[in-house]
Symmetry: C2
Subunit: 203 residues, 2 copies
DNA sequence: TCTAAGTACGAACGTTCGTGCTGAGAATAG
DNA sequence: CTATTCTCAGCACGAACGTTCGTACTTAGA
């Protein structure tokens, strides 16, 4: 049973690179031999860290999740609940995608599209991460609603759907058409959909 | 019939199946051996139709484009320009995704996400198809605007971005979370963003 | 009927994939 | 110091990949 007691720092270096590659070529396009060559270690040595390709893929998703939480989620939690947090959340996401924290744009956009029709543990992990994120956005929206900063009859899931749609499409368009305007389009759409300040129609 | 290229009907059967597989597993996950086994022909025989994997991928994109045009674009052209056509376009797209014309949802959503960061002819073809579609939607929106059915200061590219965002995200959410509500969310978002009938705020 | 063209086949090429096994060398315990 | 443990590189394996090749078989035209 290999995989466990190895150097933790080396492991995280491997996984950070794995996430970069996966954002570009997908988690299937990520091959152990190529990753090993890339990092200047042997294929079997790297393999020993994980024990199987599927474990490597799952570990890569966990590592990417940590980056995502640090880049997008955490800094939004430092803002009090309400519209401010909603906007901060969206801006963090757009910045995370635009700055190419992963060279292939949002890691999860790539992986979700790759595994959305392939059963297995990797898909399950991707689905769970996506669900967490969707709920987090909906919660932030609902907080703002309950604080009276959005109309009482606002459907948090519906609004979260629309905000996520703008963000992910900005990511997609920017990558595919190398069009930096995509992010400004998303920002415009978000501003149009969600008021910047508390409106006068609170409950 | 000497001199004729290989049987055109067989070729299109191959490509239709290739598009189905690619919508599920991507154009890289589409392997010649598997496709041949799937269709009950020899690998080399199938290979002879295309000459290289890249040519097979390009031909598959062309075949999928034909399906897309027939399912989404053509029937929208049968309704006169204006808001009606815009709504028809969106509804055709959502129906095409929801009915799983390709078993993995929208073929182009899968392929675009797969190749958005990989240079090459396949990417170029995907980009071109995406650009055509985006312009087609923006044109339909602009037609409606010029007919006075949308506010004169409507930005067609911006609105097209938002509509496409709703549609593609419905496709993604439906696949990943097996959530049929996703399409209704998109329809709700579209109705909210684009009036069903000509409003009173025309130019 | 004979010939030429052309399709589709099986076999095999070299490469890369994921995955085991083995053995050298470093680290650590007594 | 030796003895044990752990890590990683090297090598080999079988399978699958895209691709090439030689060759039966089919068919059109002379």
């Amino acid at each position: 049973m290999p995989g466990r007691p190895r150097d933790e720092r080396t492991r995280s270096v491997i996984l950070r690179r794995a996430a970069d590659i996966a954002s570009l070529d997908g988690l299937e396009g990520l091959s152990i031999g190529r990753l090993a060559t890339d990092l200047g270690v042997s294929k079997s040595g790297l393999f020993g860290y994980f024990g199987s390709k599927e474990e490597l893929q799952l570990a890569t998703i966990r590592a990417a999740t940590a980056v995502y939480v640090e880049e997008v989620v955490q800094p939004a939690l430092s803002v009090p609940p309400g519209l401010g947090r909603v906007h901060r959340l969206c801006e963090n996401w757009l910045s995370y995608s635009q700055r190419r924290v992963f060279p292939g744009g949002c890691f999860f956009f790539a992986v979700n599209a790759e595994f959305d029709a392939r059963p297995g543990r990797v898909r399950d992990a991707a689905v769970a991460a996506s669900l967490d994120w969707t709920r987090f956005v909906a919660r932030a929206v609902d907080d703002a609603r309950q604080l009276g900063e959005l109309a009482v009859d606002t459907d948090p899931d519906q609004l979260a759907f629309e905000l996520i749609a703008f963000m992910e499409t900005a990511n997609a368009v920017s990558l595919l058409h190398d069009d930096p305007n995509a992010y400004e389009r998303a920002r415009t759409a978000i501003r149009r959909r969600v008021p910047l300040q508390k409106s006068s129609q609170g409950a």
